[in-house]
Subunit: 351 residues, 2 copies
Amino acid sequence: MTRAESSEQSVDLEPQLGDPLRPVTIAAIAESAGVSVPTVSKVINGRSGVAAQTRARVEAAINQHGYRRSSPAARSNMMELVFDEIEDMWGVQIIRGVERVARQHGVGVILTEFGPQRSAIRYWIDDTLSRRPDCLVTVAQLDEEQRNQLRARGIPFVVFDPTVELPDDVPFVGATNWAGGRSAARHLIGLGHRRIAMIAAPEGILCCRARLDGYRAACDAAGLSGDLIVRAELSREGGETAALDLLNRPDRPTAIFAANDLQAFGVYQAARRLGMRIPIDLSVVGFDDLPLADLVDPPLTTIHQPLTEMAVTATELALALGRGERASQVGLELGTTLKVRRSTAPPGASG
Amino acid sequence: MTRAESSEQSVDLEPQLGDPLRPVTIAAIAESAGVSVPTVSKVINGRSGVAAQTRARVEAAINQHGYRRSSPAARSNMMELVFDEIEDMWGVQIIRGVERVARQHGVGVILTEFGPQRSAIRYWIDDTLSRRPDCLVTVAQLDEEQRNQLRARGIPFVVFDPTVELPDDVPFVGATNWAGGRSAARHLIGLGHRRIAMIAAPEGILCCRARLDGYRAACDAAGLSGDLIVRAELSREGGETAALDLLNRPDRPTAIFAANDLQAFGVYQAARRLGMRIPIDLSVVGFDDLPLADLVDPPLTTIHQPLTEMAVTATELALALGRGERASQVGLELGTTLKVRRSTAPPGASG
């Protein structure tokens, strides 16, 4: 089958590790998977009528050989942005970056939110992908099966701010979480703090593990123990509970670095409950730089995570992959920056 | 031309005020506009190759006769959500409501942001509408020409929270702004305040005018003058400047009702600068109930605007119109509710 026979089914298949001049045909995929050419075509085009087992076999064959659509005529000029749940505090910053780039390229953005319990994933995989977006930016952490289904349909994707370990060949855009954590702790050390606690995230969130390790690296370099750590949910409530725990100890810390801004707002509440003034009695550093970090009292010193720029970069990368370009770099982290506001000061500044 | 001849061009045209059993044909539209049938079809399908003047004439003829696509087969199972600029503080609440309903209906959501200076509007009208979404929810305030272009393509739309005057036949979903403004002022009056100021929005924002009128109605009913009003931008900076003006007067108010929460946060800043305590020295009420209204210190008493429910309702209405159903009600306002938190108290509560 050639492109001239059926433009809808036309894809150029390219060996991942073999000779780029010898494109893999749909026929070869069909033979390798032991199915008919129309069956492969159905899988690639996301149409129904293929048994789950057969589909999996075809997807495996396609993934093994690798391929990309390269015909510009086949492009839909649509891309997809995928969330598990869109978060109040930072969803807009991500969407704004994606929209900006899509607008420049005249590409429409399909926004998908899986919702509570990721209820829409099944629908998304089965139906939505038949729209054949040119590419995809995913804030949702897709599992390997879902990534394979995208690959089998020749839809390139970029993972936004990965929270779990990804294979090396999965394109992603994140932030320099380790450097950010280190920078937060160094700022507090530079102010003269010695008892610096960290409220860390629950186990298993990769970006937050990097923040914790950055904090530890800075403590190490300064000869501090770096073991004044309490784990808590990444919420205001989590931050408040953890801070109350830390501040009720006999050797209470003079500074707390929270794994995100929401936790830091919880630290504010804990300090208020204990009658402690920020930053006179306690310095606080957050991570994220949410729009409201500047609105709380006192304005929060925090690590700025460039969410909009990350979304811009992820979208540019995804669109380039969608055009069939090879990316010079499949994974990258954009630099975080320390925003010094009013929640940090030398220990006992006015006392 | 009948639907059997060309499914792509098939539309059922229906007189707006005439006999619903006698659908208007494309041929009738063509005759009325003095153009060929293919030209009408091009306009309806958003294709190029029609001079601007001709296009306008065809659109006028279609608008005059009215029509709706009623063939379910022609549906794209896509809808479009349109913003001028997506706002940090409430964009997600709107998107979440739209996504929830779209998910239930298995409909994909195309998200369009016109961006600064509405730069993408031209692109949107010319190109994006050729995607033929089944319907549209627009937070952007489209002008009459843009609404006519949508109508001419048979794409029903619902205006979200209109800020400008709309003709009676334009479907919209808003909030009970007048009742909300009245409720805010009544709450303060009930606490015993007599000098209640309002920070109003700049002229020309319809929803805010309704809030102001609600405030005045409550003041009237209580025998208060209701003329302690300063206009300001709907921003924190606007609120701060207006509050400093009000609070530096010899007869400073004991309570301020701000036209939105951002202004109210500005009032907090002004109070802080003047060493006034909220709510002991000053009561503050906002409007919107942004996610951070509960996070500031003290948590803000405000009028809850049910943005997510409004988006749900707008989307359900738009999808019903997209299915060719006649809406029993084309415009509606969802009820606001007073959220009493900690920023309001009787005047001089502890003094």
